[in-house]
Symmetry: C2
Subunit: 195 residues, 2 copies
């Protein structure tokens, strides 16, 4: 069933808003932020039915699609960072693995046809409560049709990458690690944190 409510935050890296829960999802009554008896931090707790609402980090999953010596970037059609370039990625959904989510987002945002390769980077972005996971991906052809969240998609050689117009630091970090590994002749798995 479709309707007209917009979902502006879907798939966008947005700041989490801690302590933003006002009402209980089970009964609708007001919540208070309290430390449950066997816990060690505030949780939104229903003042009527005592349901506890946890708030936890989310995973953003995507790929680094490669065709010959080039990488595929998408130019964002949506906020935040509209007009800037990014790797195809978005929030992991229930019912899928990290790899399945990365593949889904790649298709949705870039329209590329890819075969996933091993997980390449895991980057904590603590400030926004996110963990970004990027898989390397082999493009099986150079046909791609960007989806509605992208203004365009384009292949870039290393010396063509628009480094000053990259939307997110996790994209920039993943690209830097990729080109460094390629120069070294060996792709590894990389973990990193962004403050």
């Amino acid at each position: 069933m479709r309707h007209n409510y917009t979902s502006p935050s879907n798939r966008l890296p947005t700041m989490f808003a801690p302590r933003s829960i006002k009402h209980c999802r089970a009964c609708g009554a007001e919540v208070q932020y309290l430390v449950p008896v066997d816990d060690n931090r505030d949780r939104a707790t229903c003042t009527v039915c005592t349901t506890i609402h946890y708030e936890n980090p989310l995973n953003v999953v995507g790929t680094l699609p490669v065709w010959e010596d080039k990488v595929l970037l998408c130019r964002r059609a949506i906020e935040p960072r509209r007009g800037l370039w990014t790797l195809p990625a978005g929030f992991m959904e229930l019912g899928e693995t990290t790899a399945e989510g990365a593949l889904r987002e790649t298709v949705e945002e870039s329209g590329a046809h890819v075969e996933l390769e091993p997980l390449f980077s895991l980057i904590n972005v603590v400030r926004v409560g996110q963990v970004h996971l990027f898989y390397r991906a082999r493009m099986v052809d150079d046909d791609f049709v960007p989806g509605p969240e992208s203004l365009e998609a384009r292949l870039f050689a290393e010396d063509e990458v628009p480094w000053d117009e990259i939307a997110f630091r996790t994209t920039k970090k993943t690209l830097e690690l990729f080109f460094a590994d390629r120069r070294a002749g060996r792709f590894g798995f990389h973990a990193a944190d962004i403050a």
Copy 2:
């Protein structure tokens, strides 16, 4: 501020209950599961203020603590799987990295003093909407005092591991990968899926 509400699901791998949101966290009104106009799946959407409530997988972070030729397991004091053995792990919290969460859970559940080593396993558990991440960890001494969620903690050589009494398949898989890598003389990073 402490109070008497219990938090039975804290840190426990529990089934996610899809479509369990009944009321809006912003205004308390009823939600309906509808596909937002620029989305492709049902989301709990407030019938009054149109807030959209996303439900996404959660990360469980933990360690595989090693002392000499032995690994440290904790016997669970809480449901599910009370009385069975597990690696120290729990839900990642806002405000921490995956590594910081893994270290925190290790201290809380086992009381062990460890130095984290690289991420060792990432295991999707799609059925429960979770991604489990285990770091190898070097115990700096063999003093450990299990926390309230553990009945006991104990060091096991490979031939002592209680394979039939392991609480979770992600623990079992991580231990199997660890002993296989140790026999091979090289520790890698492993990704796996559990149906």
